[in-house]
Structures are given as structure tokens and as C-alpha cells.
């Protein structure tokens, strides 16, 4: 896999901050698991979070530290690095043609997907995400030489190629490439005439305020 098209820096920052809508986060995280360059990029963005966390004014905790059993049972004992891996997450797929964040949602193989026709030469599979304002996430399969109609976007659209390739005004996108488009872009993607193209595609819905609780508008600036 030689990846040419990467995540936008603003998307990396959003992924690191944990503020992307879930649909976008799945696709961004999927690209990152395949792309060493973006993995490094994400680490740099996460360092921002680390530095800011370290610089926050501490708020006293009103509880004792959680009890750590004296005779540590197995579950509480820090696990040796080599014994961890996928054991913890039930949906984890170890060897898969799909990146883990996506495989957790749809299984490890595109061949097992139940496709629904969308238009001539185009199939899709909608992936349900929990929660409000999660955005839209779907797999799209386009037959050789077929294309999507020209379209713009009302919000961010993020596409990751899983099989084959497509071509649009921006360039050629093959397996692992991410098309990270904002609302200003219009394009008409066409699937490769030899391979066709299967992608995962996330669209953002108009985002609402994002917070644990309705927040006060409190600009709190400065480190």
C-alpha cells in the first residue's frame, strides 16, 4: 500500500482532541492505522493534548484514589505488554483486509457485506452508529468505470479507499488513500475502469454543541 493522499491537518487535530463526529472519527482512525505518516502526525497532535493537560490548574479531587487490592487479582495487575493485544475488545479482528476501527463495526471482510443497490453500478451499506449527531457512515461499492454524480458537501466528507481506486478532479485515490474534503469542494469521482472501487465514506451532519452537559459559553483562554 503506498499512500499518497492523507488526512488534512485540521482533521488530525480533531482526531487528537477527540472532537470529530463519530462517523468521521471512524474513517480518520482507519486511515491512521494504515498510514505511518499520519500516525506520526497524530502523535504530534496528541502531544498538544499532553502539554495542555500538564499545564491545567489542578482541581482537587474529592475522593480517595481507587482501591488497588493488596493481593492484586489478575484483572487489576498491569498486563505484560506481550500478553495484551486484541483480547480485550470482543469485536477485534486480528487479520483483516479492513482497518480495525472499521472492522469492529462491519467485520473483517468486505465479501460478507450485505450490499444494497443505490444506482446503476453503485451499491452501499449503511453503518449504524449510536448517539445523536453521529454523522453518516457507509460503505460504497462502485463498479468498474461507474461514477458518482458530481456533488458538493454540506459538511466535511471523508473517504477512505478499501479496494480498487477512483479518480476525480483532485487525483487518483487507491487503497489506503484518504479524500478529506470540506464543504468548498465539488467533485465527480469515477471508479477505476479495471478494478472498480470500494470505499468507506463519512459525512458530517451540521454539528451541534459538543459537550458532556450543556455548557456555558465561557471563553477560557490562556495556558
Amino acid at each position: 500500500m503506498s499512500i499518497v493522499h492523507h488526512l488534512d491537518d485540521a482533521t488530525l487535530m480533531g482526531l487528537a482532541a477527540g472532537t470529530l463526529t463519530p462517523a468521521l472519527a471512524v474513517v480518520a482512525a482507519s486511515h491512521v492505522t494504515w498510514c505511518p505518516q499520519c500516525r506520526q502526525g497524530l502523535a504530534a497532535a496528541e502531544a498538544v493534548g499532553g502539554a495542555l493537560l500538564a499545564g491545567l490548574a489542578p482541581v482537587p479531587i474529592e475522593r480517595e484514589p481507587p482501591a488497588l487490592p493488596v493481593a492484586e487479582p489478575e484483572w487489576a495487575r498491569p498486563q505484560p505488554a506481550e500478553a495484551t493485544s486484541s483480547a480485550g475488545s470482543p469485536g477485534a479482528v486480528s487479520s483483516s483486509e479492513l482497518p480495525p476501527p472499521l472492522a469492529r463495526l462491519v467485520g473483517g471482510s468486505l465479501d460478507a457485506i450485505r450490499w444494497r443497490p443505490l444506482a446503476i453500478g453503485i451499491w452501499h451499506h449503511r453503518i449504524t452508529l449510536d448517539g445523536k449527531d453521529s454523522g453518516e457512515l457507509r460503505l460504497i461499492k462502485v463498479s468498474r468505470g461507474y461514477g458518482l454524480p458530481a456533488h458538493g458537501h454540506t459538511g466535511a466528507e471523508l473517504t477512505l479507499v478499501l479496494r480498487g481506486a477512483f479518480q476525480d478532479e483532485i487525483g487518483r485515490f487507491s487503497v489506503g488513500d484518504a479524500a478529506d474534503l470540506d464543504e468548498s469542494v465539488e467533485h465527480r469521482p469515477v471508479a477505476d475502469p479495471d478494478t472498480g472501487c470500494t470505499c468507506v465514506l463519512a459525512c458530517e451532519r451540521p454539528a451541534r454543541f459538543h459537550g458532556l452537559l450543556p455548557r456555558l459559553l465561557q471563553p477560557l483562554f490562556g495556558l
Binding site: D9, A10, L12, M13, G14, A17, G18, T19, L20, P22, A28, A29, T33, R39, G41, A44, A47, V48, G49, G50, A51, L52, L53, A54, G55, L56, A57, V59, P60, I61, R63, P65, A76, P78, Q79, A81, T84, S85, G88, S89, P100, P101, L105, D130, G131, D182, E204, P206, A207, F209, H210, G211, L212, R215, L217, P219, L220, F221, G222, L223
Partner: protein, 177 residues
């Protein structure tokens, strides 16, 4: 600090854990509250964060970032998880650590420390307008659209400020791998 985590990881040492808790707990609490949690919820999330640190201490790899960064990613994931149960990507950044090599070159720890120092310095020197969007994003947990709304700016402006800030960060740590 890294040594503290090693004592947690290798010896499962409660005293070392307590020290970590005292250093990071109150900051994680501050983070959760800035993201909109009330004090009791924030206390819950602090406990969960630090218990995760305890359980996963052995997965921490110094070449991947400072301890503060690692704790941040755990706290961030728990915040998102609380926000939307079953969010599918929540495991990623910790999962990344699972690939960590066990024998690290000796200078990796230095890199992590140096990286954090430099990132902190860059953040302190950012123009106010960039620092504001970075703070709202990382500390308040606001989406880019929500930041645009709050500051009455076009979304594109918010994103370009984040990109500019990010590029400075990248440049400052570029020679550290």
C-alpha cells in the same frame, strides 16, 4: 515520571500509582470539568482514567509520547465514551501502543520529554487567535463547528488556525523522528 510509570508497570507498586494519581488526577479532573462535566462526574472519570493507567501501564511506550500525552489520550477516550457509549474508535490510540517494541533505544525517553517541552513552548508562543482555537478544541472538547459558532467565525477560519498551530508544532519536533 517515566520511572514512576515503570514502577507501576513492572512492580505493580501502589505507592507509585498513588503518586501518579496525585500528579495527574487533579489535572484530569480539571480537563473533564472544562469539557462540561460536573464535579462528581469528573471525579468518576478521574478514577476510570487512572485505573486504566494502572491496568495498561505496561503498554506505555516512551517513544510514543510523554506520560502526560498518554494520560491525555486515555482521558479523552473516556470522555468520548461517556459522551457516546460504544463509540467505535475509542480504543485506537491506546491500541497503537500495543505495537510498541519492548526494547527501546535509551534516547527515546529523552525524545518524549524533549518533545513535550518543545510542544509546550510552541503552545505558549502561539498567537492568541491560534491558541484560542487549540484550547477550545483540546481542553473544552468543542468540535470545529462549535468553535466556529462560539467565536462567530467561518468554519474554514477555525480550521486554518488549527492547521497553522499544528504546523508550528510539527516543525518544532520535526528533528525528533
Amino acid at each position: 515520571m517515566a520511572d514512576l510509570l515503570r514502577r507501576v508497570a513492572e512492580q505493580a507498586e501502589p505507592a507509585a500509582f498513588r503518586e501518579l494519581y496525585q500528579t495527574y488526577g487533579p489535572r484530569v479532573k480539571a480537563y473533564m470539568m472544562r469539557c462540561g462535566a460536573d464535579a462528581a462526574t469528573a471525579d468518576d472519570l478521574v478514577q476510570e482514567t487512572l485505573l486504566t493507567v494502572w491496568r495498561k501501564a505496561a503498554l506505555y511506550a516512551e517513544d510514543r509520547g510523554s506520560i502526560a500525552t498518554w494520560v491525555f489520550t486515555i482521558a479523552r477516550n473516556l470522555r468520548i465514551d461517556r459522551l457516546r457509549r460504544e463509540l467505535p474508535w475509542q480504543e485506537l490510540p491506546e491500541g497503537r501502543l500495543e505495537e510498541a517494541s519492548i526494547d527501546l533505544p535509551a534516547d527515546e525517553a529523552l525524545y518524549a520529554k524533549e518533545r513535550q517541552t518543545r510542544v509546550g513552548a510552541v503552545l505558549a508562543e502561539l498567537p492568541d487567535e491560534q491558541r484560542t482555537v487549540v484550547m477550545l478544541s483540546f481542553v473544552e472538547g468543542l468540535s470545529h463547528s462549535a468553535i466556529a459558532e462560539q467565536l462567530s467565525l467561518p468554519l474554514g477560519t477555525v480550521k486554518s488556525r488549527l492547521r497553522l498551530a499544528y504546523q508550528r508544532i510539527r516543525e518544532s519536533v520535526g528533528d525528533l523522528r
